[in-house]
Symmetry: C2
Subunit: 393 residues, 2 copies
């Protein structure tokens, strides 16, 4: 068991690439008006007017308890359970929905609830920024399994190899940030088979932690599937920060399907850790508004057109890119090996991207489609000039 001093060092080390980028190039360029900002899944256009109207409407107090202490409110739980019942065909139980102040809190509470010191947790790389830190923060040991670009298929053999008798959970993110992959029901079934076999072998269930904040951000008429449809020991985290593109107004949830064994115990333990993590429930205004917010979304067909335009133009210039099935992100291979160096060239051409090194994928860049159309207009020529400068072509 690591001591906290050692843990603080490990945490710092695990978050260092992130902080280096965000306190460096990001903070220098993020709010400049003439920069094409593809760095993160942050809004670059004015918020949805219907979003502002919904939150404003539900800010008007209806009773004395309108802004009283809130935990997971019955109305918000019902909205989520109803949505998940429709999406999965499983009769979701509102009591299995734990409302959190954002998806990050859902992941943090879920990981802390499921993991004990001495446990191991598997995450897939390239990962979201903080999976490793959250596993370390629970006193558990992270095990990294690589997904190979450009396909980024679920690495079943790698997962099977990484499982030991101490493995307590596997973290899956679909639609996958940063690759844009949306895993099919068949691929999820194959993963479920691996986990079922391994659970039988080790004698205790391996949880599948399904981080699904991009479940609504899918292209080309795809249907998203949650592994909860095929694997009972699935714990889902969700954030409304993507579909509403308002990540500074935090609401999300942690939940599991009605097929989960021993659900009452999980509710109880989650509530303990959600409390002790600092009362990470969403604010009253957002919970009151959730019925209106649930069906609301940024314009996904328009984002798909933007994807087509950016992928088409970057490929025309000479870049290798993914063609994302979902999420906000296109992965672009750096034309020189050093993606940090190339991102600095892009910065000089007023284009801000996320170097792949920050998400454990050196040699690549992540380009967010939350950039506005105007940013795409000025950004594409910047990509072209940077390509010419780096390659001499």
């Amino acid at each position: 068991m690591v001591t906290a001093v050692r843990q603080t060092d490990l945490l710092r080390q695990s978050m260092q690439p992130f902080f280096t980028f965000f306190s460096g190039p990001f903070s220098q360029l993020n709010e400049l008006p003439d920069v094409a900002n593809f760095a993160v899944g942050n809004p670059q256009e004015m918020p949805l007017p219907e979003y502002v109207a919904a939150v404003r409407g539900h800010l008007e107090p209806q009773d004395a308890h309108w802004f009283a202490y809130k935990i997971s409110e019955p109305n918000a739980r019902a909205v989520v359970a109803d949505s998940l019942t429709r999406a999965t065909g499983l009769a979701w139980d509102p009591l299995d929905v734990q409302m959190t102040n954002g998806g990050f809190a859902a992941i943090a509470v879920g990981i802390r609830t499921l993991l004990e010191p001495g446990d191991e947790a598997i995450f897939l790389s390239p990962p979201w920024f903080f999976y490793e830190a959250l596993i370390l923060g629970a006193g558990a040991t992270p095990r990294r399994v690589k997904l190979e670009p450009p396909a980024f298929d679920i690495n079943l053999a790698g997962i099977e190899d990484a499982i030991t008798s101490r493995t307590r959970l596997v973290l899956l993110n679909s639609p996958h940030n940063p690759s844009g992959r949306v895993y099919s029901l068949e691929e999820l079934r194959a993963l479920a088979d691996v986990l079922e076999r391994a659970s039988a072998r080790t004698g205790r269930p391996i949880y599948l932690f399904s981080d699904e904040p991009y479940r609504r951000i899918v292209f080309d008429g795809r249907t998203f599937h949650s592994p909860a449809e095929v694997y009972p020991y699935t714990v889902i985290s969700y954030s409304y920060g993507k579909q509403l593109l308002a990540p500074g107004m935090r609401i999300g949830y942690l939940t599991w399907p009605p097929t989960m064994p021993d659900r009452e115990r999980l509710r109880d333990a989650t509530f303990l850790y959600q409390t002790v993590s600092g009362f990470s429930f969403p604010n009253a205004d957002l919970q009151h508004a959730l019925g209106d917010l649930e069906p609301m979304s940024i314009d996904i067909p328009h984002m798909q057109l933007r994807r087509d335009r950016v992928v088409g133009e970057l490929r025309r210039i000479g870049y290798e890119t993914t063609n994302p099935e979902g999420t906000f992100y296109i992965m672009v291979r750096s034309p020189i090996a050093d993606d940090i160096a190339f991102s600095e060239i892009l910065n000089r051409h007023k284009v801000l991207t996320l170097p792949g090194t920050i998400v454990e994928l050196p040699g690549w860049l992540r380009v967010s489609l939350t950039a506005s159309d105007e940013m795409v207009d000025i950004g594409l020529p910047g990509f072209e000039r940077a390509y010419a400068e780096a390659t001499g072509r």
Copy 2:
């Protein structure tokens, strides 16, 4: 070092009295219209109209980043630093203000940052509901020091006795929930002397964790003093949930004075743990509005009149009570030894209070002045009938 299984059990045990009450009598009576609700510091009257107007006004987006990811925003930090500079006479540094989604998160992040497994932390009893759980959650060992009713003076001798070479912090809450004591600068100086001597003896600083959510809720023209004025190793947690009586709209902060040694290291470590605890920053709307919210308050002179009325009437009936110097709370001695049994008698007379047992003070009841005047009107006769029923007088 406890394992997490053992930790979960300890956490559950530590929170059990709270959950028993809140899932029992509280949840049955809390929202009934004919109940005089003195149970917790929750609003029983409509929110302040100026509060709603301020949040609504700052909900109107001024730019594309209005609802983007927010950490501790410069404007909010400046508002807090300015307020603390005026209150303490110390030139508060905005970079030492960490904005959190409520006071609970500030305490959770602060305790997790300061404590390592193996450390000990002293808290004063009767305590706020979750101090012990938060200390346990950090893997540290809680040490309880009793404050004696009805004076509830800082127990310097008890603290001195409880300090060992492993003591890392002492938790102080002033104005003190539930006793209503507001400790004077002289009393704080005496505590600082004890901690300075002990720090010199053990060779490492003992932090004073000063939980100050009621700093604005003081009566009879008192001036609140923070121990930060006299003890550099002071870490302050604050919640706007009391002065605005909107605890479901969470904003607070963790901070320390400019006299704190090694401030940069503390900022860095706090940011790590604030991130890993689940990104516990306040929502964009509340941070934008903080300049308007800071000077705003519920009507304290009116609450003082309510205190005078309730204390006067309860004493006339025959109860022994405190006369709080601050906070929302009057402590009332149960006329029979069993405070839970007496609170059930009160419940039958449509009066909801918090049994002292829930806050480690059996034989007493906590009565919150956030009850409306109408609740006081119907509640006082209920107190009188319950007294007669319990005592036969």
